[in-house]
Symmetry: C2
Subunit: 420 residues, 2 copies
């Protein structure tokens, strides 16, 4: 069986490589019409999608999976509308393929430039949400790529139903079905086999918990774009507007605590701690936030719990916040270098020179002055839709939109030039 899975995956990958040559040359207009047709087809097939989804939901209930898990699995009317809406948004975005990022003339008259091209074949590996199947297929197609989608085994019926809709649209536009393939195997070996297809897959994007992502990184010979976690900080500087700082910290922590761009640690300059901590502490505590503080924090905020070593750098993903008082911005930046995850780091300050140093010296995919950590998101930053966030630096650092699903090649226009 496992051998059959291996063969099946290798065939999917080499078929995808063939199909990618065709997808790369589709016109922007054709790609956009395919996305809009898919959106319409989701609407038209709502009932059959929900029937297929019902099988997954029933199986999940029988297995006693958590309500939160089952919620993520459900293709509710709202989720289907949102998938269709997402496709329409991607259709409206500019097509990055074919753009030149620069062209110049060499002394010998050769004109050389860089032109944006699709990456080729992308492998998505994800967990329970079936909407990722449509979101990822839409973004990959728009950027001119073929894609292989390996969703969670609990969503297999839903994913296969979505795949069937996608296949009908591809056929309607005379595009090879291998341009978008859903892996039909639920065995974990299908993931391992996929990660070994280095000749035919150009990029792997895993989406899910840290366990899945580490498994993918450790087993892949194909480049992987990912982030393990988001441990984001807000540093409240001496002389900051403390009302603004309170609002930014409150929004960063409370607006949606379970996501990777929520604040997990708050650093407060000792010069403003006596005034700021009670203000911010009240606001946060009233919203149900548990504060785990250093000794100096606890001396000011009597409700705070004393932090343990493991609280520094912890990704709580809940209404828990680590708070530390520091004596300088350098101490805050050292803390961030040690405990941050290169995701999102914010300074709230009124000082120009320190804003410059923080922006220059802090190493994170998004570094900001006087704004909420929650803005680290492709849509919020103006990239359009995003396929994920990268906290490793190669190729993409931060939210990955359409442009990050492409690369550039060099082109040259000669008149017979040879090298001497």
């Amino acid at each position: 069986m496992s051998q059959n899975i291996g063969e099946s995956i290798r065939t999917m990958a080499s078929d995808a490589r063939q199909a990618a040559r065709k997808v790369a040359t589709l016109s922007t207009d054709t790609k956009n019409r395919m996305l809009l047709s898919t959106a319409d087809a989701l609407m038209d097939n709502r009932k059959s999608l929900q029937d297929a989804n019902r099988k997954d939901l029933d199986r999940a209930s029988e297995k006693g999976l958590s309500p939160a898990f089952i919620d993520r699995l459900a293709l509710s009317d709202k989720v289907i509308d949102s998938m269709a809406g997402g496709l329409r948004e991607v259709a409206a975005l500019p097509d990055p393929v074919g753009e030149s990022t620069g062209m110049w003339k060499r002394p010998n008259g050769l004109v050389v430039g860089r032109v944006r091209i699709p990456l080729g074949v992308i492998g998505m590996i994800y967990e329970s949400r079936p909407n990722v199947t449509i979101d990822a297929a839409g973004l990959c197609l728009k950027a001119g790529n073929a894609v292989i989608l390996k969703g969670g085994s609990d969503a297999i019926s839903s994913n296969l139903a979505l795949a069937s809709i996608l296949q009908d649209v591809l056929a309607e536009y005379n595009v090879p079905g291998a341009a978008v393939q859903v892996v039909p195997h639920t065995d974990r070996s299908a993931v391992t086999e996929l990660l070994a297809c280095e000749e035919d897959i150009d990029l792997i994007i895993p989406r899910g918990g840290e366990g899945l992502i580490r498994f993918v990184v450790e087993n892949s010979r194909i480049p992987v774009l990912k982030h393990y976690k988001g441990v984001c900080h807000v540093y409240v500087d001496e002389g900051a507007d403390l009302k603004m700082a309170t609002e930014i910290c409150f929004n960063s922590k409370v607006q949606r605590p379970g996501v990777c761009n929520a604040m997990e640690g708050m650093l407060v300059h000792s010069g403003v701690a006596d005034e700021f901590l009670p203000m911010a502490g009240k606001r946060l505590t009233e919203a149900g936030v548990e504060i785990r503080g250093c000794d100096r924090t606890c001396a000011i905020l009597h409700d705070a719990v004393k932090a343990t070593d493991s609280d520094w750098g912890e990704e709580f993903l809940s209404l828990v916040l680590a708070v530390r008082v520091v004596d300088s911005m350098d101490e805050a930046m050292d803390y961030i270098a040690r405990y941050g995850s290169n995701h999102t780091e914010v300074i709230v300050t009124g000082d120009y020179a320190r804003s410059r140093r923080f922006l220059n010296e802090v190493d994170a995919s998004l570094v900001m002055v006087n704004a909420s950590t929650r803005f680290n998101d492709g849509g919020q930053l103006g990239l359009g839709a995003e396929i994920g966030i990268s906290t490793s630096k190669l190729h993409a650092y931060g939210p990955m939109g359409l442009e990050e699903l492409t690369t550039t090649k060099f082109v040259g226009f000669g008149d017979g030039q040879t090298r001497t």
Copy 2:
């Protein structure tokens, strides 16, 4: 012993991570002065470098290594001059760090942009040429990175002598010595240990034979930029200027046959084969090129050897050339997709529409019309110096100059924005 090597390498990597924070903030002026000081120091220490190099050369002779190998190992006056000259050229190049690649305003007033930053810590793994130690150190430093250099065991005395010069310059400018480190261990386990330091090294660049590169790719958890080989083609189209085509093919094959951007396969449209093959064949054969042709080629060129299956897609790296007659550009492009290595592909044509299709549809790091394959080189394309060529698409596709040793982060300038 092996455990000690592991500890030693891990310490080097974590020291490099620390040092990288400092290197990232050096001013352009300081970096340039360091490069110029290193160039001067190479000149001043010519004698002691050559004494150290003599030990490597003597060991190589005793081991009976080939004259070509010994030639690559030698720090001749010319090689030392060339290292110093290379550093001066890199000092003269613009500093990519801090450039913004775009900035825009969101509807909520938040100003967001991308700013170019160093990658962090780069690991170079290479074989016998000790000049790579200086070339790579210069490029990595200029781009604001720390670098760990693991050269071949046969060049260890030379590399340690070069390291000592680099250390003196770093100390003179008050930069931590861990900014540029030469691995002192000659055991292969040092490479494996280096490839496991995923927390502290951001990128691995291997330079050397296909065996070394495959070993690195298979053992690394760190992203790797590399090319395995260069199987480059020239396609001579129907209606091409055949005199131009002859010069381009001659230059592509003969000017330097042992390098990755030399032509290994020539594809000729059947409509011009009768006229072109005798012209080009004569020119190539007179220069000592052995032609391995398809049946149709051999029917025209009676000196040609009949090609075997393994000749298609072979990287000869010598005066051997595979030649095939094709009936259309589509057949040529299918051949290139099957046998090419995504390195450099050239069409010689007089037809506008076919030049457009070839440029758009051929997937290689450099695709050109009417010019020699030999131009795929950072210097020739105008990037300044290059640290290598990438034929995988992520992050860099083609020659890698200073810009490819950097990435971009997002920065945001807010006035208290929060997310609703």
